[in-house]
Symmetry: C2
Subunit: 590 residues, 2 copies
């Protein structure tokens, strides 16, 4: 149970009563009241990191406070709360993420360390939780519910059952069970899922859902099963259906999926938005630096026609209620003094950001020192692959064949992750399969010491030359390589094994460029500015190999091994049929 409370409550009470000086008086601001929707001049008294009193009458002082901050007539809103996100998606560590998100006015995030959990299990979740200690940002944690995403079709670095949930629920900033993706498991009462949900409920956690495209009876069943929120809504009618069913709709605007417009289109005629919140899900460093974090999501909602005060409300108190945490999400007595001053409620650039009553950012820049803090886990090389040779990346035809029918994973479009399974007859040379048009080889190598690996063929992936590889490969994050020549695959694998993970591009057996992600093969210790530069260089290199997908080329490979997106995906165990949840042989037997 997360309790937001002052260390010295007695002093807070005395400051509220005016018996002692407050620590801070924030004067000359226009308070946006998320309870009444009003905007009015106010003086906010802060003590012990909490709001002691909001004065609406005696605005001219004198102010019984040690420090005065002049709001210069700007709007004062509560610190923004992101209802669902993954820090790992920023490729930054939790502390560096805070450095870049705080200046945008985000003071609380509800994050799901799902990626690192797949790499390091309970230890990974503990790291993500513990490393945030002492940050001037509230990083609340939802415990990953589906590790691995599809048991039996892939080997991740860990597997979570009810026991892991119970263990992690004891951590002090844990609030929920994270996105329950195993929708089939929930609605059909799969014992493992039922037990995980039961454990979470017993521990008093809220159940975050994950219900893409769910409607009608399936949506009803999912809600009856327990989860009460969803950030995967992409269509207007879907949004209205979920709102009507009492589901929290966490409207998402990530670097990849931009759904706020569609959600708003669906719900704009609703009279109430109590269960509408905003979230960023996955945001990369470049977007975080230049577009913003949750303030960018609010801005998007407002640009779609949502009332700015309503949008702020959705991004603050609604989320606090959704996750069941009291005393955050409003500028009111007894609430944590997390506040943002902004000149314009529509663009929502943060002029000043306060966390627990302390000024932490001004004009888009951090103004507090965030002390370095490191853990042993950051130094560990998570990429544990066996000794590999070129031969390991050769797709050999069955003995004696000159042509062979192969199951190929074909991307449906240049964007997106959906594929279909096609069968193609391909020629064989020296026992090796020869690629057809628009094809490349793909290999997924287990990187958790299991020794499992697979080789197959992908079509319309987009790569034209060389090889690219990544240890960011949802959700198991095995080493995933797309290539034409085994020597390039080997070079890529060796490079990432040596560097402890990341993304690399190879040509003619030589590494062209590597984006090193040494923390669990998912995150770098670089800060946002440096990371953005390195990432830009990596993108450029991938584009130079012909990977000219419309969106971020780095993201093309990261969902290649995600066996929850139809129709087929590659895992370290082979070609996975998503609907059947089983492994298909690469060669079609005749």
């Amino acid at each position: 149970m997360v309790r937001i409370e002052p260390k010295n409550k007695r002093r807070l009470l005395q400051a509220a009563l005016g018996e002692v000086e407050a620590d801070l008086a924030l004067i000359n601001c226009r308070l946006v009241n998320v309870f009444t929707g009003e905007i009015y001049p106010a003086v906010v008294y802060v003590t012990e990191g909490f709001i002691a009193h909001v004065e609406t009458e005696e605005l001219e002082g004198p102010y019984a406070a040690k420090e005065i901050y002049d709001g210069q007539g700007k709007y004062l809103i509560p610190g923004l709360i992101d209802s669902h996100m993954h820090i790992e998606s920023s490729m930054m560590t939790p502390r560096n993420f805070a450095r870049v998100a705080l200046p945008h006015g985000t003071t609380t995030i509800v994050h799901d360390p799902h990626e690192l959990a797949n790499v390091y299990g309970v230890e990974g979740v503990r790291y993500m939780h513990d490393i945030a200690e002492g940050l001037p940002m509230r990083q609340l944690v939802d415990i990953p519910s589906c590790v691995p995403a599809v048991p039996g079709c892939e080997n991740a670095g860990a597997a979570f059952f009810a026991d892991e949930i119970r263990e992690l629920a004891g951590l002090k900033r844990v609030v929920g069970l994270a996105e329950v993706m195993d929708f089939y498991g929930v609605i059909h009462g799969d014992p493992r899922m039922v037990e995980i949900i039961r454990a979470a409920e017993d521990c008093g956690l809220y159940l975050q859902g994950h219900a893409p495209a769910l409607r009608g009876r399936q949506l009803s069943a999912y809600l009856c099963g327990g989860p009460s929120t969803c950030h995967e809504t992409t269509a207007a009618d879907e949004a209205l259906g979920k709102l009507r069913a009492g589901m929290y709709v966490d409207a998402r605007e990530s670097s990849i999926s931009r759904n706020v417009a569609a959600v708003w289109e669906g719900v704009r005629n609703s009279h109430f938005f109590d269960t509408l919140t905003l979230c960023s899900d996955d945001r990369e460093s470049d977007d975080l630096l230049h577009e913003g974090h949750l303030n960018a999501v609010v801005r998007k909602a407002v640009s779609c026609g949502m009332d700015p005060v309503q949008a702020v409300k959705c991004a603050t108190i609604h989320t606090a209620r959704e996750i069941g945490v009291a005393h955050i999400g409003a500028v009111a007595p007894g609430y944590s003094a997390d506040m943002v001053l902004t000149e314009d409620l529509r663009s929502l650039w943060a002029d000043a950001v306060f966390y627990e009553g302390r000024l932490v950012a001004k004009c888009g820049r951090l103004v507090v020192e965030i002390p370095e803090r490191h853990a042993k886990l950051e130094e560990r090389n998570s990429v544990r692959v066996p000794e590999l040779s070129e031969e390991d990346f050769v797709l050999r035809a069955p003995e004696g064949k000159t042509r062979v029918k192969v199951r190929v994973m074909e991307y449906i479009s240049k964007d997106g992750s959906r594929t279909r399974c096609i069968e193609e007859e391909l020629p064989v040379e020296d026992g090796r399969i020869c690629l057809g048009e628009e094809m490349a080889f793909v290999s997924v190598v287990n990187r958790y010491g299991r020794g499992t690996r697979s080789v197959g063929i992908v079509k319309n992936f987009g790569l034209r030359d060389g090889a690219i590889a990544s240890t960011v490969s949802h959700d198991s994050h095995n080493l995933t390589i797309v290539y034409f020549h085994p020597q390039d695959a080997l070079a890529a694998a060796r490079e990432l094994a040596e560097k402890g993970g990341g993304m690399t591009a190879v040509k003619d057996g030589k590494v062209l460029y590597t984006l090193r992600l040494e923390v669990g093969g998912l995150m770098t210790c670089l800060q946002a500015e440096e990371l953005a530069q390195v990432a830009a260089q990596m993108k450029e290199t991938e584009r130079s190999l012909g990977l000219t997908v419309p969106s971020n080329p780095l993201l093309r490979i990261v969902s290649l091994a995600l066996p929850v997106i139809p129709e087929v995906k590659m895992s370290d165990l082979g070609l996975v049929s998503v609907a059947e949840q089983k492994i298909l042989p690469v060669f079609v037997e005749e």
Copy 2:
């Protein structure tokens, strides 16, 4: 932690999916959606007492359900939830209260067994909780926080500290800590109050407040101290101040205090009402029978200008959120199937009431059998007073005086409970004080075997003749008697001691009429219809003794000993100065 969940979740999921027949299909209704504020035609499928699915498209059937209920085009709203009330105020037992409130559409109450706690302590709370087992109404319990109301100035039947709170928090329908009345204790950090609040927070309970007339810095301090709700709001500006401060405002319309109009006047221009709820607090049998229960409060709010859908929302899902209980307060998948059909959203007479999917009332009549259930405690005589004589009710002057100056408790008006302390010089005859104009004697006799009692004088109480007495006497419920002649007082005391409590009227040493309240001296085992008749007779008898106060005459005496209402009150320890929290001598020393 209160969990609202089906016994057989698997079956609920299957019914949601349409894989098995639902238990019930409620067809042909206009659903009032409290999430979106929309009203639209729907079919509601119920299984295992929960809503499995709400169909908005295939309305014409066929319906995969064992039973069909035709809503005849009426509005379907969630079962009403009363955010704060005392069952004892109805003078009925919890089961009989359910019998009369259910037909009005109240399916959940949050009640505070404060009165019986003052009589029987932990055992009293357990009785109120346990006796509700198996009722077709959800009687959630808040644990009384202030037993006794004013420690040191009165002897109640029990005293609660943090340990009692922790013990009672383990009961399965306990959700909160009840109205924290000791406002001074909260804002000044009184150790007992701090520990009680801490215990409640540790047990995950919400903190129900009690903050009459609180504004500005005192309100801020109270909120910083923990409590987050208030049902004592009586003025418009007070209501707005509380809503702005993030406090839940539980607008009250009781038999005694009618505050909905004032609250609405204050908040009507607010854009949001997320933290506005409705409550009945204290309703007597007559009102329950003829005016209604929470539906009467909704009706009042609507008559004041509140949108009917908003009012229904305030009386359902808002309260569920306030008390932190999921899956009640809406007609949506996964919610308890507590529902009301009504022809008119403005008057809100309940045409049909469903509790956990079962039809429990129709056209204002209960249609289910509520099995009798009794506890030993109901048979116990709680009135433990010493052997009394006429002399015990004589107010004797100090030796040798012929005139003496006396502190008199004077009522300010014929209505209400406020008094002031005046000093009057009165003649003495045979050593006895003689009453002046508009005066009567008052005696409060401890009825918990403590042997303490007091005699004093009250002015402007309203009685003209005989004596009246009551064991309903907030909050300690000691035996309280107003009289002119000691023989009448003695007769009244003996009558109530023999009957196990209640209210009685005496003249010329003879009992005129007694309303017997044998359960803890507070409640009868009679049902509402009989009780209303008996109570009417009792009122009539009191009026015949000259007690012609504008409101219910039975309520005149019940706050005479309530030492939280200024300026003075009588307790079993003597005349209490409410502001100073100390006992004042009856005779002024000169």
